[in-house]
């Protein structure tokens, strides 16, 4: 399915949307298509809103952001996010990383909450009343709890999948598996479509099974400026450049006009940036296979 069709069919105004990936495998291609289709009132959930949600916030897609660390990794601030929050134009719901991971774990297991040892002595429960506590029926001790997160739609970028949606990921896994299982609808975006036989040759690498996937979109370089281990490196220069772009609302508008609204899709996005693929393409460093015989 094309990204345009997948977003048109499965992402709706007012949805709770998750585009996960911890630094690795962040589907910017999906975010840009959501911006182009002008989705509104979205509740955007991610551990790290990152540039992807900074762009969606600037484009007016977001009503609320649920997160645990909102910065530009190794660079500084997410300025569109900061302007919206400091101007109280955006609702936020804030956890720590462990809290967000636990919310996805509960959602994936279809439990209403998840227990964790956390938050004692912090002001986070004061800032977020959804962080509660439960008493252990064995020891009597109090444990923190977070509520399950069950998105309407989760979009996962991955290295490869077959046509049915059996999806394999290596390198950093983040919470991609939990977010997908927690979600009502799942869109998988891959660097490469492979034959089912490739998936079946190494079943331990499968992270998401076809039976929970609604759409498979093939979008090479769809994670740029994030990265895909074994395919292309992270575009650290762009993350640094975002500091200046996002600081100036006008510059941010120009960026969206040129690289999001101004292109039809990922292919055109790449054509606009000659030399990008050459600069970031991954070197080959293959591991050996293992024996599945008996």
């Amino acid at each position: 399915m094309s990204m345009q069709d997948a977003v048109a069919r499965f992402v709706r105004d007012g949805d709770t949307v998750v585009i996960e990936g911890f630094t690795h495998l962040i589907s910017f291609a999906a975010a840009h298509e959501i911006i182009r289709q002008r989705r509104r009132d979205l509740t955007l959930c991610r551990l790290t809103p990152d540039l992807i949600y900074d762009q969606m916030i600037a484009a007016g897609c977001a009503r609320k952001v649920v997160f645990s660390w909102a910065g530009n990794p190794g660079v500084g601030s997410l300025h569109a996010f900061r302007r919206a929050v400091e101007g109280r134009a955006l609702e936020i719901e804030e956890y720590s990383h462990f809290g967000m991971v636990a919310r996805f774990a509960a959602g994936a297991a279809r439990l209403p909450f998840w227990p964790l040892r956390d938050y004692a002595g912090t002001d986070l429960p004061r800032a977020n009343p959804r962080i509660k506590a439960v008493t252990c029926p064995y020891t009597g001790e109090a444990l923190a709890t977070v509520p399950a997160l069950n998105p309407d739609v989760t979009i996962v970028h991955a290295q490869r999948a077959d046509a049915q949606g059996n999806t394999q990921i290596w390198g950093l896994l983040g919470v991609q598996k939990e977010a997908a299982f927690a979600s009502r609808r799942v869109i998988v975006v891959v660097e490469e479509l492979v034959d089912e036989s490739v998936i079946r040759s190494d079943p331990n690498r499968t992270v998401i099974p076809a039976l929970i996937v609604d759409a498979v979109v093939v979008e090479p370089w769809g994670a740029h400026p994030s990265y895909a281990q074994g395919y292309y490196d992270r575009d650290n220069d762009f993350y640094v450049a975002w500091e200046a772009i996002s600081r100036e609302p006008s510059k941010l508008e120009d960026y969206l006009d040129a690289h999001v609204y101004g292109v039809s899709g990922r292919a055109a996005y790449l054509e606009k940036q000659p030399g990008l693929t050459g600069r970031l393409a991954a070197k080959a460093q293959f591991c050996a296979g293992v024996n599945y015989g008996f």
């Binding site: 551990l47 910065g71 804030e94 964790l116 983040g174």
Partner: protein, 232 residues
């Protein structure tokens, strides 16, 4: 200098939860000098990483290639951190107070922030579960207030605060952070003037040894040749 002092705090074989920037420099310096068996764990899921380049982000692909294990983040927080396997955790923050509490969330009231900071990330649980936390932060009265505006990470496990002028450590009698070590050429009054509370000192103040040539050469020529994190 802060990276070098931080490196000296690490013992060989320890399991360290590493952050990006100076903590990463400190760990890799220690790994190349007195602590070759340090196990570096990044919250992104890379265990025993041996980055061939200085990682710009906590999820840099260089942390994955050649690491001993890569696991999902549910495992990082439940099986490593909450399980109690982490000996040292590094933290930094916009504000550090008298009791080692850290604020990386907001300056001003939470509901009407003057400055919105990134938030906790893993800092809340690192402060709670790492046996010993080390803070690296530059001194200034604004950065070291009597009380932080928001407690993102509680200070109870903070062993030391490594600053650009000296090292504070916990006074076990009252739990307060007190001046313990001074860098070469720094006077105790410089430090006290840069802290927003009445900073006490150890009866005897140690002098931090100046950085060795080996340390400086490693940092400048090998670990951070592009000066991403080193200022001098």
């Amino acid at each position: 200098m802060m990276a070098i002092v931080a490196a000296r705090e690490l013992r060989d074989g320890e399991v360290v939860f590493v952050g990006i920037g100076l903590p990463n420099l400190a760990c890799n310096l220690a790994r190349r000098t007195h602590a070759p068996h340090l196990v570096l764990i990044y919250e992104s899921g890379a265990v025993g990483a041996v980055p061939e380049r200085l990682p710009v982000s906590i999820g840099d692909p260089a942390l994955v290639t050649g690491s001993l294990m890569v696991c999902g983040m549910a495992d990082v927080f439940q099986l490593f951190l909450q399980n109690g396997r982490i000996e040292v955790g590094f933290l930094g923050g916009a504000q550090v107070d008298r009791f080692g509490n850290i604020n990386t969330t907001v300056i001003g009231p939470y509901e009407r922030p003057k400055v919105r900071l990134p938030g906790s990330g893993g800092a809340a649980e690192i402060a709670i579960h790492a046996r010993r936390t080390l803070i690296i932060s530059k001194l200034s009265p604004r950065a070291f207030p009597e009380r932080v505006d928001f407690v993102t990470s509680p200070g109870q496990h903070v062993a030391k605060v490594i600053t650009d002028k000296g090292v504070l450590e916990r006074d076990e009698t009252n739990g307060e952070m007190v001046l313990a070590q001074l860098y070469p050429g720094v006077d105790a009054s410089d430090v006290k003037a840069s802290v927003g509370w009445e900073l006490s000192s150890r009866p005897h103040l140690d002098r931090v040894d100046p950085p060795s040539q080996v340390d400086l050469q490693l940092l400048r020529d090998v670990l951070d040749p592009k000066r991403l994190y080193l200022k001098s």
